[in-house]
Assembly symmetry: D2
Amino acid sequence: MSGINKVILVGHLGKDPEVRHLDGGVTVASFPLATSETYNKDGKRIEQTEWHNIVLWRGLAEVASKYLQKGKLVYIEGKLRTRSFEDREKVKKYVTEVVAENFTILGRKSDFEPPVSSEGTTPKSENEYTNLTDPAGDLPF
Amino acid sequence: MSGINKVILVGHLGKDPEVRHLDGGVTVASFPLATSETYNKDGKRIEQTEWHNIVLWRGLAEVASKYLQKGKLVYIEGKLRTRSFEDREKVKKYVTEVVAENFTILGRKSDFEPPVSSEGTTPKSENEYTNLTDPAGDLPF
Amino acid sequence: MSGINKVILVGHLGKDPEVRHLDGGVTVASFPLATSETYNKDGKRIEQTEWHNIVLWRGLAEVASKYLQKGKLVYIEGKLRTRSFEDREKVKKYVTEVVAENFTILGRKSDFEPPVSSEGTTPKSENEYTNLTDPAGDLPF
Amino acid sequence: MSGINKVILVGHLGKDPEVRHLDGGVTVASFPLATSETYNKDGKRIEQTEWHNIVLWRGLAEVASKYLQKGKLVYIEGKLRTRSFEDREKVKKYVTEVVAENFTILGRKSDFEPPVSSEGTTPKSENEYTNLTDPAGDLPF
DNA sequence: TTTT
DNA sequence: TTTT
């Protein structure tokens, strides 16, 4: 016993969430998240990007599939989990994922709406941010 | 002995940073930061805002005074410190502050530049974010 | 909108939790928590202690009242909340608290049992730690 | 750009740190860390352990090699990094590590001393905890 | 594979 | 491979 296993990320989705429905009816969503760090080396600005495998379960997966899309900036809180699997050649491999326990969209108001087909959105003012939290891991509205 | 004292905030500056230079030449900056939470009560969307007193020292204060302004969205990492002071009526009072150890601007590219007097900025595209990190607590460029 | 408000503490309880039952039957517990930091100044080891007001609600308050006592080492995750109140002289005052959302006892096995009146506890081996988590904010067993 | 990549762990070392000195004189240390979670399933207490690869650089590696040993309870703060390497069969593999930026021993006073060969240690009192922090990533004393 |  |  004795443990804290916590991950806090702010980054952009590299792809739309991929949603699967397991046999028991459980929903799982996953997507890659990029967190980038900028630092200075010999006067040049270097950007280093780290990619994370994000996994969400149940209600949180449902919310993610509805409100998160490729490119969005998101705060994610979760825990690390390394699991093994067999690839196509039956070789045992390991992958480390971040199992999300909570997420919040960081961005402008338009980022909080599910994408629509309609054109002609209202112009946005400079400082128009908003967010969406799902502390309970379930639908927030 | 034995202690972790860590605060993680993402919110908007309520005012421009207020910068002071202490006798020994040390720079201190401070500003209020709002973190808002939205939840559902009886079908209505309630927004609850919490205000935090942010304090930054030395190099981090210099960076803050240059790159942070009222309204900007920022990630702040720091620690809690409660200090006492005497108000004008000589009454002892307590205030809890977040002493920043690190911050990152979260927002669009324009948010990374110090404010300029020139008018006529270039139009921004929808999904234009960027950030600025100062892990070492000193000027990052 | 847009906010993350997160506090992570590891420290010792300064007192036993104080438990109150509100009118609606809701349980609230609170206790002071010390987080200490040791640093070096001119070759001398300086210890600086920060005190935090911890507040717990409902099921988490019940668990805390049962398993936490003065002196125990605990990991606490929560959020900052500043509230105002009137003191006995009707002066408006402010206090900043950490509203716990989760806690974990860090310590040896004996620290996980509610205190008993019986004497003569079993001797402990050198490296005997264990912990107790309450992720859901409710009774964990 | 735009990124926060933060990991917070509390767990026990599965092995003593393994220290290497790279060509340029840089020190790297690494060890496995176990974080365990206990939960209830059908009235049975289930313990699930997650293993993390911890990597420390430079001064932090030196401190770790001196003060951390197998079995000790430690708080670690760092960031995720996934790197690829070729195994003996020239197969490309990936491993995700936690690059530590800070650590603190959590435990009793005896846990803060480097291990000694002498026998006959002084008995410890019940509530004797202490800690050791290395915020700057360098030797703290 | 994101973002700037 | 830790810890209880």
